[in-house]
Symmetry: C2
Subunit: 273 residues, 2 copies
């Protein structure tokens, strides 16, 4: 990029733009693949968009359930911008792919939502485990699903979220197996990141939270848990999407799983200590 | 105490003395019972005393193994005072009971060590789990052995301490069972107290650290672990005593188990955050 800029200055010189801005630009111009590994170090977020008349109940749902639904940004009514997450950010175009929901069903998976935008819509951006996984890896902890290049296993639990209006349902959790000493370290590290799910909600006894078979996740892919390991469970940003589906809203928009919003926030900025 | 002082002023008015000072005074004048529950809120410590020519190797042992052997105070050579732990503290008289060791055997359990003191002795005071148990209880976590009024169960592990001179051997751990969510909270709380063993060293798989039968502790008393609980293991201040015994030092002095030094430090002062 730098050498190109040197020999052939572009109308819009991209060499000084951050990887997060470049990622959003790529989405605007056709990128429609997973954001895993994109713009390392930058916060990625889950997206939920809905009409204003439902948004206040959803906002309250997030407030009541901060571990699965930590809000890292939201738009004004009808405004597609969220400047706190990126000065140039346009929530209608800057994700790789969206899901349009009607009455609890996905009816379309477009790469932008220009045709669906309305001036009564509110966008919520919710923290994602990519951020704390970076901190775990930086500390040398091995993350099984990343090692195996599969999606993290996720499970519906018997932990009821606090309901708000039409939004209700069980917490969804993601699972990462660790050796016990690493599990303790993982609790310490993720406790520093309450804005991206924070400390685990459970460890060691899947059946206590309603998980019948650890080998059969409800979302994502299974990963093995060795005899000398502990399965560690974090509240998961799939919870709001699952709750939105169950509420059978007349209309809502989310990101497509794994194809997230890349923001200008740095993961390390989310650490509270 | 206050009302007594009001009606009948004593020659030495004790009403303004802290409970920790009163506890040490009680030891000087005959108290020879457990310090569990004595001077709530004040730091209690394990004691190890040995001749200067062994003390440097022991000091290095503690330095290399800070989780089982966190030093919270030490004396100068031949000096029975440790002003940082109590202005008036005299390490020869201020514990309820001592153990005098010769060649790895306890030869005497006196209530003071005036007759054994020498001008080449160095005293080490090592943090104790009473401090972090106060923080756990303040957070509402139930502690099984306290509920049952027995001693905490302790186990020799297969985790080797880093050796130093004659000091070597396995880490001893204490165990407290918790529901998983409470275990996670316990990791967070005890991480704030590195001076009193800090975060757990293990959880969930006793056999991984060489514990064959959780129902048969090597020290203390057994407590039940329910099916939906996780045994959580902390490095234990019995480790240095076990290592001193194994080293078969010609001469050493320790506290008697459960009969600790009460210091003027407050437990909450040990929190790093």
């Amino acid at each position: 990029m730098t050498s190109l800029a040197r020999t052939e200055p572009a109308a819009h010189d991209a060499s000084n733009l951050s990887p997060s801005v470049l990622a959003r630009h790529a989405c605007r111009t056709g990128m429609a693949s997973s954001t895993a590994g994109v713009a390392d170090g930058f916060v990625q977020g889950n997206l939920a968009i809905m009409p204003e008349k439902l948004a206040s109940a959803f906002h309250r749902f997030c407030q009541l359930n901060p571990k699965p639904c930590p809000i890292i940004g939201m738009s004004d009514v009808g405004d597609p911008r969220i400047p706190a997450l990126g000065i140039d950010l346009d929530i209608r175009t800057d994700l790789p792919r969206y899901r349009v929901w009607r009455d609890g069903e996905v009816v379309e998976e477009p790469t932008d939502i220009m045709a669906h935008w309305r001036d009564d819509l509110v966008a919520f951006v919710i923290g994602c485990s990519f951020s704390f996984e970076e901190a775990l890896r930086a500390d040398g902890l091995p993350i099984r699903h990343i090692e195996r290049n599969v999606r993290v296993p996720m499970y519906r639990t018997n932990i009821a979220c606090q309901p708000s209006g039409p939004f209700a349902g069980p917490m969804v959790v993601s699972m990462r197996p660790f050796k016990p000493a690493d599990a303790i370290r993982a609790v310490q590290i993720t406790s520093r990141f309450p804005a991206v799910h924070g400390a685990p909600v459970h460890l060691g006894h899947p059946s206590s939270i309603g998980i019948a078979d650890i080998a059969r996740p409800d979302y994502g892919d299974p990963v093995p848990v060795a005899d000398d390991e502990i399965p560690v469970f974090w509240a998961c940003g799939v919870t709001p999407q699952s709750v939105i589906a169950a509420a059978k809203l007349p209309f809502a928009i989310t990101h497509a799983p794994g194809l997230m919003l890349v923001t200008d926030l740095l993961n390390k900025q989310l650490a509270v200590l």
